[in-house]
């Protein structure tokens, strides 16, 4: 795959050494600024300003005079770090964070483990039904989380579940996936179902960029297919696994659609099941945008620190080339 050599590799005219500022002002081209302008405008409008505005709101609060009735009774004042203190000591928030971390510890290894297994199987010449399986396993990616939660939600109902039905036939009682202690796994299953195929394709793409001569050499040395997979293929796709786990972590911390959709079908998902659900509740049910803002900032920072820290931890290998 030659695609990553993104620097203009054979640039002839515009090649300016990276650190040197352009010597002649008049040579600074206007065209690139025109080309990036829409992106910059949209970035500022849809990402930067909302973040800054939320950061500002997170430092504000409403002061209520008397009964809070009449004009001027409610005034917005500076709150300092009060909202943050509130968020960080809120038991609902802490338990939603812990719950989502536990959820991530289930989803990410299972999803990536299965994705890796399927990618290795797709890449193995000895396995049949590969085209069909690749297509079918990737297909759930086309189904949005809301729809897949809805479908699984029905399949979890005892009256509909084919698993409960099959177990009943042989006289076994299955645990219910939406029971209090298990609902986390029920939601995890939906995320795994939706995510395996995409990650499989990521890893499969990576596997395909390995020159096949490497395997031939190993085969001649007497390696079995499993040994080749474990000793050669897996180490080579580790950078891809790192990337996919970062994206997995980001989506895990932001889980919202699945539990929100399942809520009408069970009593076991609270309005603060995940941090984002709690932000939604604070902002729209309790009308406390200030503490919702503080929680949003905490969650955004946590997402950023966690994913960036993880990348750093693995020595920034994934972005090393682009990030100069």
């Amino acid at each position: 795959m030659t695609s990553i050599t993104s620097e203009p590799n054979s640039g002839t005219v515009r090649r300016v050494p990276d650190q040197t500022p352009p010597r002649r002002r008049s040579r600074v081209p206007k065209a690139p600024y025109a080309f990036v302008l829409p992106a910059v405008f949209l970035f500022v409008f849809s990402i930067a300003i909302p973040i800054l505005y939320t950061a500002y709101l997170s430092l504000r609060t409403v002061k209520v005079e008397g009964l809070g009735l009449g004009p001027g009774a409610r005034t917005e004042v500076w709150a300092g770090l009060e909202n943050y203190a509130g968020t960080l000591t809120d038991r609902d928030f802490l338990s939603s964070v812990l719950r989502v971390l536990g959820y991530g510890l289930v989803v990410i290894p299972v999803m990536l483990g299965l994705a890796l297994l399927f990618a290795l199987l797709l890449d193995s010449v000895r396995v049949r039904a590969r085209r069909f399986s690749r297509l079918v396993i990737f297909m759930p990616y086309a189904v949005p989380a809301v729809i897949s939660s809805l479908l699984w939600g029905f399949l979890y109902l005892p009256a509909v579940s084919p698993f409960t039905y099959a177990a009943d036939q042989v006289g076994v009682t299955l645990p219910q996936p939406m029971a209090p202690g298990l609902v986390l796994f029920g939601i995890a299953n939906i995320a795994v179902w939706g995510g395996v195929g995409f990650n499989m394709i990521v890893l499969y793409t990576a596997l395909r960029s390995i020159p096949t001569e490497l395997y031939e050499a190993a085969r001649i040395d007497g390696c079995s297919e499993v040994q080749i997979a474990w000793r050669i293929k897996v180490p080579i796709v580790i950078p891809s696994l790192i990337m996919t786990s970062v994206f997995g972590m980001i989506t895990t911390l932001q889980v919202f659609a699945e539990p929100t959709v399942l809520r009408p079908l069970t009593n076991n998902i609270s309005t603060s099941w995940s941090p984002l659900m709690m932000i939604y509740r604070d902002a729209f049910t309790r009308n406390d945008i200030y503490s919702a803002s503080a929680t949003s900032v905490v969650l955004a920072v946590a997402t950023f620190v966690l994913s960036f820290g993880f990348l750093r931890l693995v020595q920034n290998r994934a972005f090393a080339q682009e990030n100069r």
Partner: protein
């Protein structure tokens, strides 16, 4: 771009490669495929059942009520469902289309020009990749509410137009697929920058643009929180938000469940078709980049 598709490995037909099939491997792969089919096959079957059959007949047994379910759904509040479908096409189709153009322009500029601020810009965008999507929905709501833009099409469309990941991909595609010499040649022939971009660069990166479009299309189609937060008027809903609302009503009126299931089937059918049609365009180069280092 050396590989625009994911071709099946042309097996070298040398003796070592032609090994006997592995039953365990094939079995595992097929089990995976069956797992992925469980809910999809179910929705096909369940949408043929009347609401009385839904919880009383065997899950995977089909019935004959598909068309009456569809007409029930179509007549629900004067065809609100179809309005949701049109909205979805608008949000995801128009949003992804415009987003692709914006990404292509920015990616082209960053790949082929050296200009002051390029490094900072790229790093800021990369940071945008790491803090994406849903965490922004509430901040965006707060700002848009201030501007009076909530509960309009713009509220969902505008935030969907920027895609840091799309820009990142576009930059990779341009540098890989468009040689500097071609741009130089066009420029020597007197083409202006905009013309170079629209007549030379864009056509050369079509496979990349399709990929970016598909990614952004799925991202918008999948973003539940943004429209859920931004929209109050159910005439503006995309189909995902609409169906989750119907499911909510289902806890009081179980007849709604049939509508929800039929709606779920009808909403994923176009996507599945598009997906099968364009599957050769899916490629995941961010990770390929990771391998390269």
């Amino acid at each position: 771009m050396s590989t625009a598709t994911l071709p099946d490995r042309t097996t070298g037909t040398s003796g070592t490669a032609r090994q006997r099939p592995s039953f365990v491997g094939t079995g595992l792969l097929v089990v995976g495929a069956v797992y992925c089919l469980v809910p999809v096959v179910w929705v096909f079957m369940a949408s043929t059942k009347s609401s009385s059959e839904l919880f009383s007949t065997f899950t995977y047994a089909p019935s004959g009520n598909l068309f009456s379910n569809i007409s029930d759904l179509s007549s629900y509040r004067d065809g609100l469902f179809w309005r949701w479908m049109v909205n979805t096409a608008l949000y995801a189709g128009v949003g992804a289309g415009l987003s692709t153009v914006v990404s292509a322009m920015a990616g082209y500029a960053m790949a082929k020009f050296r200009f002051p601020g390029r490094g900072v810009l790229f790093n800021v965008l990369l940071a945008g990749v790491l803090v994406p999507g849903v965490v922004l929905a509430v901040p965006q709501y707060l700002l848009f509410a201030k501007l009076g833009l909530t509960n309009t099409y713009w509220a969902v469309l505008l935030p969907s137009l920027i895609s840091p990941y799309g820009i990142y991909l576009a930059r990779i595609y341009v540098s890989a697929a468009v040689p500097d010499e071609v741009i130089e040649a066009a420029r020597t022939d007197g083409a202006k920058d905009l013309r170079v971009f629209s007549s030379i660069v864009m056509p050369m990166m079509v496979p990349g643009l399709v990929t970016i479009f598909l990614f952004q299309f799925v991202a918008i189609w999948n973003n539940f929180m943004l429209p859920f937060v931004m929209l109050g008027d159910d005439k503006l809903f995309p189909v995902t938000v609409g169906l989750s609302g119907l499911l909510n009503q289902g806890s009081q009126q179980p007849a709604m469940y049939t509508l929800v299931i039929t709606g779920a089937l009808l909403s994923i059918l176009p996507l599945l078709a598009l997906f099968l049609l364009l599957q050769r365009f899916w490629q995941v180069d961010l990770a390929a980049g990771a391998v390269k280092s």
